[in-house]
Symmetry: none
Subunit: 218 residues, 4 copies
Amino acid sequence: MAKKAGSRAAVEAARPAPRSPRGLRTRTALVEAARTVFERDGYLEARITDITKEAGVAAGSFYTYFDSKEEIFEAVAAAVQEDMLHPRLRERLGEDDPLVLIDAANREYLLSYKRNARLMALFEQVAQIDDEFREVRRKRGAAFVRRNAKMIRRLQDAGRADPELDPLIAAHALSGMVGRMAYSVFVLNERIPFERLVTTLNQIWANALELDRQHTSR
Amino acid sequence: MAKKAGSRAAVEAARPAPRSPRGLRTRTALVEAARTVFERDGYLEARITDITKEAGVAAGSFYTYFDSKEEIFEAVAAAVQEDMLHPRLRERLGEDDPLVLIDAANREYLLSYKRNARLMALFEQVAQIDDEFREVRRKRGAAFVRRNAKMIRRLQDAGRADPELDPLIAAHALSGMVGRMAYSVFVLNERIPFERLVTTLNQIWANALELDRQHTSR
Amino acid sequence: MAKKAGSRAAVEAARPAPRSPRGLRTRTALVEAARTVFERDGYLEARITDITKEAGVAAGSFYTYFDSKEEIFEAVAAAVQEDMLHPRLRERLGEDDPLVLIDAANREYLLSYKRNARLMALFEQVAQIDDEFREVRRKRGAAFVRRNAKMIRRLQDAGRADPELDPLIAAHALSGMVGRMAYSVFVLNERIPFERLVTTLNQIWANALELDRQHTSR
Amino acid sequence: MAKKAGSRAAVEAARPAPRSPRGLRTRTALVEAARTVFERDGYLEARITDITKEAGVAAGSFYTYFDSKEEIFEAVAAAVQEDMLHPRLRERLGEDDPLVLIDAANREYLLSYKRNARLMALFEQVAQIDDEFREVRRKRGAAFVRRNAKMIRRLQDAGRADPELDPLIAAHALSGMVGRMAYSVFVLNERIPFERLVTTLNQIWANALELDRQHTSR
DNA sequence: CATGAATGAGAGTTCATTCAT
DNA sequence: GATGAATGAACTCTCATTCAT
């Protein structure tokens, strides 16, 4: 019997991980097929049966591992997380110059966005449809913003950034700016050369924080 | 017997405008009902019959005026355009100070976004689903960006803004930043006080353009 | 929500044959039910749901096996083919006398037309509505006509038939004549006794070909 | 409220002829438009509103003159009758030779069929759908057949035709043969040159009746 | 665990016909 | 008479989900 998706009554316990190697293979095939189908058809157009067909398994097998399209989408999303994290740049680069760090962060973000553009568009789409996914995404973004806000506060305390700025809002605004530009360029195909994009965004960050000016402490 | 869809060839470009006052009343009732239903149920959940029911007309009457949900959504969107346009601020305010103009523009935009928040969320959603709507929206945004880019260029030429910035990309980035913050605050309910939001965004604009510094001409 | 028709691109050529015995049973039940419903209600009045109801399956199951009413009609038609073929009369009868062969062919054709009269009327009807079905039918008829033309040519070469006749057109005309009489008598209920009908048609064939006269070779 | 066509409860009295010149003009426009639309779209696809649109009148005006699609089709058909009648050939030609008369009859029939091919196809189609129309047509055909049968009987009595033939059945079969060939050639586009077609059909008539042989009276 | 056919609620869409203006 | 908007019954088709094998 058909059921309207979205009437999220209770959070159902996630399916247990498959015990047998065969089960694991099937599950993996489904997730990979799902990514293919989602990227090809979009979230709404993708049908469960398309996914099982693509995976080469029977329609019913889907329900051995997932309860819904939302759930397998989460699984696909989870598999792409790592690529989009920018962790510990300072440590990795052994650098402290904020200009260098900002450039590295923006550059890495934009490149990985470009690499996964089709999927990022999907995330955007699903976030507009699925409340739960949107919330997960919002929280993930908030953590990222808090990290940036901490950096800004540190720079302000060191007299190297405009002390008038609200660090959290500024971090939010500037991070959002980069995210939206990535969307414009790599999803909507706004024609902007990559280097010019990175340079301009870097410069706006630097200018906005007034990195290169002297500031008295707050 | 219901006719096979698609058998009737040509794409009938937009229904003709109603010829009688009665027709006009019905059409208006449908658009108003559509807005109500879309805001209440979201785009995907909204059913044509909900709209006709809300408008108090027969189901079939919908097709006298519109071909699809997409089409009536466009009509709803068109009806909200004016409210979101900020034209000729300089003339209206009789002001020339960029700081004042930026404050006025951001303030007006954020306020009207707040007023139409439910609908703005819908626009975001539909843009992720309907290619045509997305394209209409992209173009509308591009025009807005070009206006801002022209302002930036003028300031650069007058030696009042950072001549290093690419005016178009900067305008794109900074406008996008405001749009995304509006979405975060008024749709995702990020808890940021309005005044602090406006002030911070203004300041980022000002800093990014380096409005308060002296510049030699490019 | 029902999907907009046509959005799913490719024309899926004919559903795959059922893989399970249960599927085969369902498909057969549908074709049999379709024949019943078509004969009872006519082609235009027959509704898909009547067919599934008659077959005792769910409405949706129809689409597991067929795409449309046209398609299941084709399946019904295919199932009646054999009954209407008169192959290899000469071999079957061990006869060579053209008068005997013509009598046998006309007699068999008229009898099987009578047996399937309801369906033959349907064929006539659908051929007037569905271009594809008409074309299939035209081709099938053309093959039959060519066989008869070959026989006429052979008789002409043997000096046993009027050498002036165009074999192909004559075959076409005389075969069509029998077909149309079958339609008049068994569908339109023209009151003509069967034996008198066969005899007269045989005689027209024989006279038309001038079978019983001597001919010099062409 | 929509009504399923075909539930012919009672023969409704034909609409009175329009009294005013304006009414006459509208009625004529509708019949002409109907012919255009029927020929263009076929009977089933033609919608009442297409006809009124083509005629340049309001949808409702249709019902001032006709009750249904069937009815206006009858009106269109009536307007084409004369062209398809072959009356009084003998008198017109001042001829008595049956070969000449047969040639003239076949030739005239085939030419006028060709002239009105689109419409003849329509008649064929509607006859398969509308019982009443089919009956009207059958009767008209029967009268024609009786005329031919009378001619055959006269020839038999004069010892100029095969006395063994059943005149009515033979007339029916031979007339039907010509009609079906006309359909094959001018509707189904069977590629047969016109002269060869006429000649062959004439010859089959002549041979079938054994016109050129001596017969003893029955 | 895998299979794949069966299910069926429910949305979209058409268009002949009516009737107030 | 003419107009043209409104009506609404009726039909098709989809696809997530189940479950017997």
